[in-house]
Amino acid sequence: MQELFLTLTQDEWAIRALIASSLVGIMCGTIGSFIVLRNMSLIGDALAHAILPGIFIAFILVGYSTIGFFLGSVMAGLLTAVIITWIQHNVKTKNDAAIGIVFTAMFSIGVIGISKVSTGDGVHLDLKDFLFGTVLGISNEDIYLTLAITIYSIISIIIFYRYLFITTFQPTIAQTMGISVKMIHYFLMLLLSFAVVSSLRAVGVILVVAMLITPASTALLLSDKLKNVIILSGIIGLLSAVLGLILAISLGGGIAPGPTMCVTATLLYFIAVVFSPKKGLLTKFILRRKQKSKIEQEDIIKHLIKNRKEKINIASVSSALGLSVNVVKKHVKKLATDGVVNQNGNQLMLSIKGNESGDSLVRAHRLWETYLVDEVGLEEGQIHTEAEKYEHILTEEDLDEVDKHLGFPTKDPHGSPIPQKQIKPANPLLKLKLKSRARIAKQQITEHIESELWELGLTPNMEFRIFKIGDDHIVLKTSDKKIKVNEELARQINVLI
């Protein structure tokens, strides 16, 4: 460990490799976001493989030279792009096949050429270094070049951000706004070939594509905003490159850094696949569990409401709904703490609140059935299962919309009544807890309620205390008497707290 630290901080070759890898990681990560979003992964891979013959030719012409390799690679990359485009436009070959044909051929020519020259005496041209990167072979020139290209890429992404964004998201709209989609495409291809060429020493041509697409795909799992995706992708690229390099050095034995970087990037990717807060498998799993519990609990409420007149206990719920006794027990416990279900010895009963949510479930089910028959045109026999599913998903607002759309129907397709949505008072009497104090509000939802109150002897601003909460009624205590109010009315009476 200590040795590794010393190597990384004191050996010049290691420091050079560290700097170059960091730059490559950042650059590939940022550019990679656009490559992934524009479905250009294959083109990225192709460009990377295709630069090999450029290196071979540059070596023949000018010998071992960073600038020579750079220019040779860019030329080879551009030539590849031109040939691919030509085939796509003039020959009846599928687009991706055209890419595959050209880049494998270019790559092969490069492999043959470099193998041939590297067998000569005193030549430091190792094919493996170009394929998988090298820790030892990074020169100062390589670093300067990579630094220049990284800065150039980042600045141009900042400047052209809007154009990149809109041409990637909706090219037609960009076009109507007078933004040249083609120009942006070529510009990105140029950036891509720069990125590929400068990654040559650190990662090698075969695995550059991993540095382009893996960190970007990881970032896309972590954020929903393009700006954040680009920044995150750069950071993840940096991490992958640096950790990968350290792994390669510490493993020793001449392991090339390309594969270790790729493995690190992939590892980070899978961590995101599982743990991403919004899109991870774990989150989905937890959500699904919650949803399942919610559905089961709602089914229990519905069961209780349908069998209002019978004696229901945990065992009978369990057999009626096909849930295990333990599961039902767990749900009932939760429903009891939420104040939805009352346990009277063995017997389960819905509280006033429970009845309310039961009604809204039945309303959801029946409204949705009505919708499916009236609007979608399904037959009566087809709708129950569908409605059974959607009654748990539709929100109150959705339902109000459906209700309004259907013209507030009173009966479902089977002829059963649809519970009507109540106009709710701001502070219903029903919501008050035992022993709490309140006053009768002046504002009631209807005149009918006002006259009901009058008959009970409850006048506006009269103070009272909740004396008892029964199964279907509430008892109020005013200064001089006790008044029993039934549940239905209590739901509609507005009070001031």
């Binding site: 964004f165 909706q170 709209i173 109507t176 706004m177 007078g178 393009l226």
Partner: protein, 249 residues
Amino acid sequence: MAGEKTISVSGLSVSYERKRVLYNIYLELEAGNIYGVVGPNGAGKSTLFKSILELIDTSSGEIEVFGKDVNEVRKRLAYVPQKDEVDWNFPATVRDIVLMGRYPHKKILQRLNKEDNDIAMQAMEDIGISDLANRQIGELSGGQQQRVFIARALCQQADIFFLDEPFVGVDITTEEKIIQILKDLASQNKTLLVVHHDLSSVDEYFNKVILLNQRLIAYGDTETTFTKENIAKAYGPQLTILHKTGLFE
């Protein structure tokens, strides 16, 4: 100036792979109007939009917008395409998309500023999606997604609006809201073109109508142009559709 000529199309023809889509279209459109573009499937309604916007190659014909080539006046045009091949998983929020409407107003090094943000917020509010501003676009319902694109067009503050079936998947309340906004724009002397399918609402929504079926069947004031005879000419054998609209008893 009301009645100002905004778009003029003369002798426009378009073919796709030797199949004729539009043939010899002549149109003169004026500011301050909402044009309903109506015709059966395959009548070339979307193609007409794309030709005017120069998104596709035309076989022949001249198109002028504000008396100029369209490329010189792009800033003044807003387009709401059919809700087609958009990648709904794209990392973009509603606000990001609406703000795109400000892009044509910006020079290359200019950043979007507070004013742009305010205009975008106003557009979202007008169309009732301001509470969705920070949502990723894939999390919206179909109708809400459609509204995002309309908000972007509003945010663009253009002079001519091309809307290709903007009411698909939109609920009736929102549809009425949108048409009200479009009518307001027309009264501010904008030109609006709307591809529309529901024949029963044409006379209520549009003061002008363009009836199309590869050829131009008729265009002009809805009252005098949207007649049984012209509709029959445009739809030909597809008359069954018309019976549903109640225009044919």
